[in-house]
């Protein structure tokens, strides 16, 4: 490994860590559009006063926004989990590291399933007039 001059993680020489390094950069670029786009749509083009059950129901009529949200959920969660793993590697003592990373992945998996279920299975019922 060479010394990092960019203050980012040095590029790993191979194996899982190299793929993880590459994934962070590629998913980061995708999320630049997806996550910032999501914030612009929800907080600038619309705003929190407009967002309610009917708003979600209207957005989720077709599959485009479900697909958008699903891609964002998956990439953001994997990007976040791998980032958190890096922090655990740095700050958790070696003897507890394995348990900490396992716990992190378990929690991540639960949230990933919850998010996927919400996006895929949502079927609007007749909403009350607000």
């Amino acid at each position: 490994m060479t010394t990092s001059l960019s203050y980012s993680s040095p590029k790993p020489s191979g194996g899982f860590e190299l793929w993880a390094w590459l994934f962070m950069r590629l998913s980061g670029l995708a999320l630049l559009g997806l996550a910032l786009g999501h914030l612009v749509i929800m907080h600038l083009l619309n705003n929190v006063d407009a967002i309610d059950y009917n708003f979600v129901a209207g957005r989720y009529v077709g599959w485009f926004w479900r697909g958008y949200d699903l891609a964002m959920l998956l990439l953001a969660m994997l990007h976040g989990l791998n980032g958190a793993r890096t922090l655990l590697d740095d700050y958790v003592p070696a003897r507890r590291r394995r348990a900490a990373v396992t716990l992190l992945y378990l929690i991540g998996a639960v949230f990933l399933v919850m998010g996927t279920v919400a996006i895929v299975c949502f079927t609007p019922v007749t909403a009350p007039h607000s």
């Binding site: 960019s6 203050y7 914030l39 907080h43 309610d52 953001a76 919400a118 996006i119």
Partner: protein, 118 residues
């Protein structure tokens, strides 16, 4: 873990802090969205939390965290793939901060306008 001082140190710490902040929010946001299964009335009640003034200020912080993390990530990618840019890394960081400020001023104004009645 600690880097030698200077702008690299700050960008590195801020990248970690904003990363953790956004991940924690992501989990809360998955939870509130998941609760849509409870039905319209309950979901509308839960999602109204986002309209509380304190929450709106925190949403500006969320926007700022995602924006900083994104811009700093772009700087990292540029330097990782075009090593020559390392010579300009300090100037790149200042350019990043300038972009951040230029974008955040109108964003904060637009997001906080309803709270302060601007």
């Amino acid at each position: 873990m600690w880097y030698r001082g200077g702008v690299g140190q700050w960008s590195w710490i801020l990248h970690r802090v904003t990363g953790v902040g956004v991940l924690v929010f992501l989990c809360l946001h998955i939870l509130d969205t998941f609760l849509i299964i409870l039905g319209p009335e309950q979901y509308n009640h839960i999602i109204a939390l986002y309209r509380v003034p304190l929450f709106r200020v925190m949403e500006v912080g969320l926007f700022a965290s995602v924006l900083f993390h994104a811009l700093n990530g772009v700087r990292i990618i540029l330097i990782d793939f075009w090593v020559d840019l390392t010579r300009f890394q300090r100037r790149l960081f200042y350019a990043e901060v300038a972009c951040f400020v230029v974008v955040m001023i109108p964003v904060a104004y637009l997001m906080l306008r309803p709270v302060f009645g601007w």
